[in-house]
Subunit: 327 residues, 2 copies
């Protein structure tokens, strides 16, 4: 069994090889931005999940690398296009692709990345390739649906918590879930265990997004890559906001709605005031309760998987790592 | 054998069925723009080419419909994103998708279409599905490369006719070529004949794009959907412009370059003056000669295909139709 660290270094070297290839491919204005997008990195969580799942059944990681790379390229494609749509000028402390190049180049490079993801899948020798491509496509389309719901919700006040959970399932969780299932399919695991890993990933993904919502408001600014309260400023319909609207009395609700509807405001004041309401309503504790709920659901599913315990060790570590629980 | 008209009505009804499905799928802001993009139609040339090629070997068109639809959805995706990049507000006398909805919706709907194209392919029962997906992906990536070269060339004066031919091969011809080869693969035709059809389509596609360049300047305005001279106004590096620069004396070249470099100008005057130079240099006749060259190359390849003559009749009609030679 490989550790998560081993797996990350396998992925890093594969991504670096790809970036080097891209730097030598013409037209440069199409392929260099793709290399740049891939170089911005992060934890490479999704491809690591493909390989971790694969490694529960098989030893030779090389066979699953194309699938892992497909997921990483696809994920970075969605970030690239999301940054255009959200007008996000920075990504992990670097200018986002559309800022560094221009919007047209960013649109087209993203389009090419989405196709390259399939080209990666096609390099897999798996006998279950059609199934792999089918799951990948279905997931990719769901991610688009999630992004559309997210955009729709920005300008709506009629969003329920059920709507929100469906949105984050699509936008975030299905890709984590599919990464695990794709790894299992590439390893020719049984349908049962592949589905269990999917469900494990789905619950973990929802917990992960709830955690992300929470950190936006309650992170330690010195350790947080972005500005605290970005979601509040942008009127993102996060779990925190929706839960606050649900449980607040008429007075607190008025405070929130007043800030949400203001066109001109001081962002720091808005963040301070709405965080104040969150504190009064104990939103942090409530959200943590939800995160625990989904995390536990994930762990329970993993426990049911009929594999020796040592095969699950790294996956459990990953789950804790994703929720920043042991580092 | 089906006629081209038969095949077009098969495609039209399939596209309409898809548009109806899309109108009922959530989120509406993702799927309705896709239905709108597909409804703008046109001649549905590419899916017709898939089915025509298929029909050279097999009778039951239904089996090739998913592949034909994949090509149509992909082609309309490229138009949708190209319109954003080119700031083209109209498409076939309708507002383009980004104008009718907004740019973010257009980006995301396009992304979803590109994935839906693969979902269509995956509906095919062909035993050669991996080969089909591989050719489709490679072609899709080449189309992106062609679009990038086209954008690069707009701001460059160092474009050779060889560069131009490579650009239109990628941007236009490979998709026509691949449509035919995909039809042949779906019909489980031999590799030899599938490649011959590809080469036939490639030459036809280059002739088609040259013809498109020619029509931009020399079409009959009353029959032409767009404004005459659009390429001239936008400094598109068309065959006409590049050939004119190649063969003009120093004086005519100065006239062209002067217009190309002007930032502010009267568009009609620019079109009139540059067309004037084209007339002096006999550019229409020269371009027609090139079109004939590629058309003849296409026909010669089709003649070599070892199939009874009657199997090629509709394909030959299509070739003439594409170049508007008999209607």
């Amino acid at each position: 069994m490989y550790t998560f660290d081993d797996i990350q270094s396998v992925i890093t070297s594969e991504v670096e090889r790809e970036i080097k290839n891209l730097s030598e491919t013409e037209p440069g204005n199409l392929y260099q931005p793709i290399g740049y997008a891939l170089s911005m990195g992060g934890k490479r969580l999704r491809p690591a999940m493909v390989l971790l799942a694969y490694n529960m059944f098989r030893d030779n990681l090389t066979d699953a690398l194309p699938v892992a790379m497909a997921v990483e390229v696809f994920h970075n494609f969605t970030l690239l296009h999301d940054d255009i749509m959200d007008k996000a000028e920075m990504r992990r402390n670097n200018p986002s692709v559309y800022k560094k190049y221009n919007e047209n180049i960013a649109i087209l490079s993203g389009d090419a990345m989405s196709i390259m993801a399939y080209e990666y899948l096609l390099k897999s020798n798996s006998a279950r390739l059609p199934e792999i491509i089918r799951l990948f496509s279905q997931t990719a389309l769901e991610v688009c649906e999630g992004q559309q719901y997210d955009m729709d919700f920005e300008s709506s006040l009629e969003v329920s918590i059920a709507d929100y959970l469906n949105m984050i399932r699509l936008k975030t969780a299905v890709l984590l879930a599919a990464s695990l299932k794709l790894g299992a399919l590439a390893a020719d695991a049984s349908e049962k265990v592949a589905c269990q890993l999917y469900d494990f990933g789905l619950n973990l993904g929802i917990a992960f997004q709830l955690q992300d919502d929470l950190l936006d408001v309650f992170a330690d600014q010195s350790k947080f890559g972005k500005r605290i309260g970005g979601d509040i400023v942008a009127n993102k319909k996060t779990f925190l906001l929706l839960k606050a609207l649900e449980i607040s009395d008429i007075q607190s609700k008025a405070v929130i709605l007043n800030w949400v509807q203001k066109e001109e405001f001081n962002p720091e004041e808005k963040v301070r005031e709405i965080s104040g309401v969150y504190n009064q309503l104990n939103i942090k504790r409530i959200t943590e309760g939800q995160i625990d709920f989904y995390f536990q659901a994930a762990v329970d599913i993993l426990d049911e998987v009929e594999l020796p315990e040592e095969k699950k060790t790294e996956m459990k570590k990953l789950a804790r790592l994703i929720l920043s629980r042991d580092h």
